[in-house]
């Protein structure tokens, strides 16, 4: 029989406990659970950002000529690795450890330290230290890969990697320490949530100085002032790359909430995901509308650039806007891209993939747009940050490019550029259509 003499007391007690819990304040997530979720967020979001390396590779592959495709793939593969190693070698400590006003510490070979968490003390340890290193590492890799797109088809591999080494080991960490490392710009009140300036503009400034010092591709600009289009070889790859970047951006902005150990953090991350997507949407639609109006035609490559431009624009502040504002911020980014691309060409600056419009121009816009929705910032401090980091990165990059240019040289010979860097630097043909050994005719994969 279910209802014995003791059962009613048990039932009543259970009911009383349930009533108590129902009227209690919300129970706090334990320190260990918060630690787990925060760490999880860094790891998953970091993996999404790593996936952006594939996005950049495919986008750039699709927008170069086939004779340079393998080279651009190799550049993307190798720069991701250089960035990953230098961030271990020196970058993380220079950016985050014992940061003064202008830089962190020169301590080689960063090491994880989870002794507190391992001992069960979660008061000061809110995430696994390797997860933070991992998450920040993929960001510096992103900044570096912006440069490879602009300079594609006419920069030599090893000098390019030499530049990437200095960019990722020194330039990026120092300016990053000024903000995320809580240096002087952070104290001034400058705000850059996920890196419109710290990542995208940094890549953009490095790319711009590189493009100016390296020069344009042969045949891009004629001596009589003619601008020649050099179309990409595979827009399907370019589209795939853009969608991959778009998806990776959820990790890029979402993970920059830097927490998932509470409902508030989860809500913030959800809002960031939604705003990030909406900004890309605005960028694409605005780009399509403007190109249709101006050129009576929609251009896929500009629409793809518009998506990236929208994403970059929201990256400085993806948390505080509402969805509508995020759409508009991204939309302005899309418009900026459509005008910036031909403007660069008129200035005879050869940017193969439109990285400078999408990352630098929209990075500046996104950073200056932060005060629109974030009352704790001001346009003046935002502008100070844009200019300070712009000057620092441009000057430092220019020094490196000039040293490389006048020592080992950064351009291939005219012959090598014409033949294609795949042939000249790698001895490879990605699309081997002819019967030259060892590719037998009609048996390309054999």
């Amino acid at each position: 029989m279910f209802l014995t003499k003791k059962r009613p007391i048990l039932v009543a007690s259970a009911f009383a406990v349930m009533m108590t819990l129902a009227t209690d304040a919300r129970a706090e997530v334990s320190g260990e659970v918060a630690f787990i979720f925060n760490t999880f967020s860094f790891l998953i979001c970091g993996a999404l950002v790593m996936w952006m390396a594939a996005g950049f590779s495919m986008l750039e592959s699709g927008l170069v000529r086939s004779k340079n495709t393998a080279t651009i793939c190799l550049k993307n593969l190798s720069l991701y690795c250089v960035a990953g190693f230098t961030f271990y070698l020196i970058g993380y400590n220079l950016m985050y450890t014992d940061v003064g006003q202008f830089a962190g510490s020169i301590v080689f070979f960063w090491q994880s330290d989870d002794s507190a968490a391992r001992a069960g003390e979660f008061a000061d340890a809110t995430y696994a230290t390797s997860s933070d290193w991992y998450f920040q590492m993929v960001f510096v890799a992103t900044a570096a890969s912006i440069v490879s797109g602009t300079l594609a088809e006419r920069v030599k591999l090893w000098p390019f990697l030499a530049f990437v080494t200095v960019l990722t080991a020194v330039i990026y960490p120092i300016q990053g320490s000024w903000v995320w490392g809580k240096g002087w710009l952070f104290e001034l009140g400058f705000s850059d949530f996920a890196g419109s300036t710290l990542v995208h503009s940094v890549g953009g400034w490095a790319a711009l100085t590189g493009a100016l010092i390296l020069g344009p591709r042969l045949g891009k600009f004629s001596s009589k002032g003619r601008i020649n289009p050099i179309p990409g070889n595979n827009l399907s790859l370019a589209t795939l790359g853009t969608f991959i970047l778009w998806m990776g951006w959820f990790g890029f902005n979402g993970g920059s909430v830097l927490a998932l150990g509470s409902a508030n953090a989860a809500i913030d991350m959800a809002n960031v995901f939604a705003n990030t997507n909406m900004a890309a949407v605005g960028g694409v639609l605005a780009s399509m509308a403007v190109t249709q109006f101006l050129y009576k035609r929609v251009d896929l490559s500009l629409a793809l650039n518009g998506a990236i431009g929208g994403l970059v624009s929201i990256t400085a502040e993806p948390l505080t806007p509402g969805l509508g504002t995020a759409f508009l911020i991204g939309g302005v980014g899309g418009v900026v891209v459509v005008f910036a691309v031909p403007f660069l060409e008129k200035c005879r600056i050869d940017d193969v993939v439109g990285a400078i419009p999408a990352h630098l121009a929209c990075g500046i816009w996104g950073t200056l747009a932060v005060p629109i929705t974030n009352a704790e910032t001001s346009i003046v401090t935002q502008a100070i940050g844009v200019v300070a980091i712009g000057v620092f990165v441009s000057v430092a990059s220019a020094v490196v490019w000039l040293v490389l240019k006048h020592t080992v040289g950064i351009r291939p010979s005219e012959r090598d550029e014409w033949m294609g860097l795949d042939h000249a630097e790698l001895g490879l043909e990605v699309y081997a259509d002819w019967g030259s050994d060892p590719f037998r005719k009609g048996d390309r994969k054999g």
């Binding site: 042969l218 014409w418 033949m419 001895g427 030259s436 050994d437 060892p438």
Partner: protein
Amino acid sequence: MKLIMAFVKPYRLDHVREAMEAVGVDSFSFTEARGIGHHKGERDIYRGVEYAPSFVPMMQIIVMVRAEMAQDLISAIVKAAKSDEPGSGKVMAFDLSDVVDISSGTIGPDAIRHREGVHS
């Protein structure tokens, strides 16, 4: 009328084009060709194995000129197509018996138009 055919190294194509324009010829066509000549092409390494390519790429330029232009054009092409490497190519001339312009129906030397004022 003459048909001038030239095989030139691909990276000399822009120089050849400018040289032809300088003597008044701005109409021509070209195809990408592969071939093998006396110079076999440099040996290379692919995944650790050395090989010599069977064929090397060249640009095959075809241009029709009035007979009096032919010598100047050939000299211009030879000068512009010369490269530092061996095997810079060859230029040859054919006699053309008939040329017809499809758009206008013009027959003979008038069907070939050069830029005015350059060739005396």
